[in-house]
Amino acid sequence: MHGIARQHGNEIVATDARDDALVAACEAAIEQMRRVVPSDARVRLVSRNGDATMTVESNGVSIVTTPEFVAADMPLLSMEDRHSCLSSGGGTGKSACPPLIWRNGSAAVLLHEAIGHPRELGIPEIEWPDWLRVDCPIELRRASFSDVPLRRMTRVVVSQVDAPFDLPNERIDVHLVRGGAYDPLTDVVTIDVAVPQLTIRATRAEISAALLGAQGEPLRYPGVVCSREGQELAVGSYAPLILTRGFA
């Protein structure tokens, strides 16, 4: 997509226009991605402004990655035992809602929904644990020349400072998230976990109260394509290992 948009007050006049340099940059990015396309998956390659985003889907789960990381990220799609990630290392019984360990940076999606979207919408902040840090700049972004620029996240980098962390024996390991949503009307966050398959629905206050601890440096999560008002944008996402209570 290439075009020109001129904004005067609350009016935008947009026309498409060919930009050969941009087309060449996007074609080059697509060619770069084609060279590393996995053979046994459904793949969508997108280049905007010459960048490169690969959505790779296999067995009903998907990752969003780049040519640089696709080889390292592919094992996430072929994890064995993905439907039985309940680890129990000596507990006496399984609780109904065991704690969750958010691996591979997947907690970035949880906090993308619980902190990022409310910030985009100007919704008042709530309290979060002292040890939690979320770098989540908001800028005006648009998916194409004919879209209205919206306040959108550019990245979500979750980190921790002296967070408690006590790995529970009985827990569910979250490896991959399919999607999420934040509803400003109800303040409810919905997270659709792909591996293992489960759905979480909780208010921001419930999520804040469920954050038990974290460990390590932020890990790159592959990845997040965020859609609002029909405008899909990639959002770089990073989080350390995060421990939460289970959600009923």
Partner: protein, 233 residues
């Protein structure tokens, strides 16, 4: 064969007026779909921007207000056709409900939402034809218009692969899709509360003899369908 499109749209999106003119072409060759803007312009009818602005302003405050008016000329091989569209998408809220309105009579739905007395189950509800739901019943494609390859949309029973394709934009590969779909008429229609609009979470706002409620919408339980497209759930 090459598909070409010249389009003009005026869109009100949550307080911003967007005017878009675009022209492009697309081709499918050996499994590769390619689309690009074209310099050639054709004369397009004016779009009534005043209608867009007046309609949006009349709707007033809402969680989402999108009003669109557009015109497009399509060309595929020797076939050239013109389409004009006018659409309204509005999300009205009254905690805990979000009501989705996709027709022009937003004011009556907004008034009804203010009168809503709460949630209530009903044995049956009537869904008017302008409210689109994915009902679980036998359906048919009604004739009318041309598809993304310029082929006539013909009467067919909805079964198997759709014979027609839809192009949401020249930049998007055409996708097979049933169009002008309605439930095949069957059964006996009965009086029941009438659906005014859809509500997030598989519910609907209904008018029950002047009283307004939110109710669960059981799309898997179609009891009858009328020639007009109205359905009894």
């Amino acid at each position: 064969m090459i598909y070409r499109k010249w389009g003009r749209v005026v869109r009100w999106e949550n307080g911003t007026l967007v005017r878009v003119d675009e022209a492009g072409e697309a081709r499918e060759e050996n499994g590769v779909f390619t689309a690009q803007p074209i310099a050639e312009r054709v004369a397009l009818p004016d779009v009534d921007a005043a209608w867009v602005v007046e309609t949006a302003r009349a709707i007033g405050e809402a969680e989402r207000v999108v009003v669109v008016a557009g015109v497009a000329i399509h060309e595929f091989g020797d076939v050239r056709w013109q389409e004009e569209t006018r659409r309204v998408h509005v999300a009205l809220t009254r905690k805990p409900w979000r009501v989705l309105v996709d027709d022009f009579d937003v004011a009556s739905v907004a008034n009804a939402l203010q009168k809503c007395e709460g949630e209530r189950d009903f044995e049956h509800v009537l869904v008017p034809p302008h409210i689109r739901i994915d009902a679980n019943c036998a359906k048919e494609q009604m004739p009318g218009g041309l598809d993304g390859y310029g082929r006539p949309i013909e009467h067919r029973r909805v079964d198997g692969e759709p014979p027609n394709v839809y192009r949401p934009s020249y930049r998007v590969r055409p996708v097979r899709q049933w169009m002008n779909v309605r439930a095949i008429p069957f059964g006996t229609m009965l009086p029941a509360p009438r659906v005014l609009a859809l509500v997030d979470g598989g519910k609907a706002l209904v008018d029950d003899g002047g009283r307004v409620f939110v109710t669960r919408l059981r799309v898997d339980r179609v009891t009858a369908a009328a020639e007009s497209g109205e359905m009894l759930l």
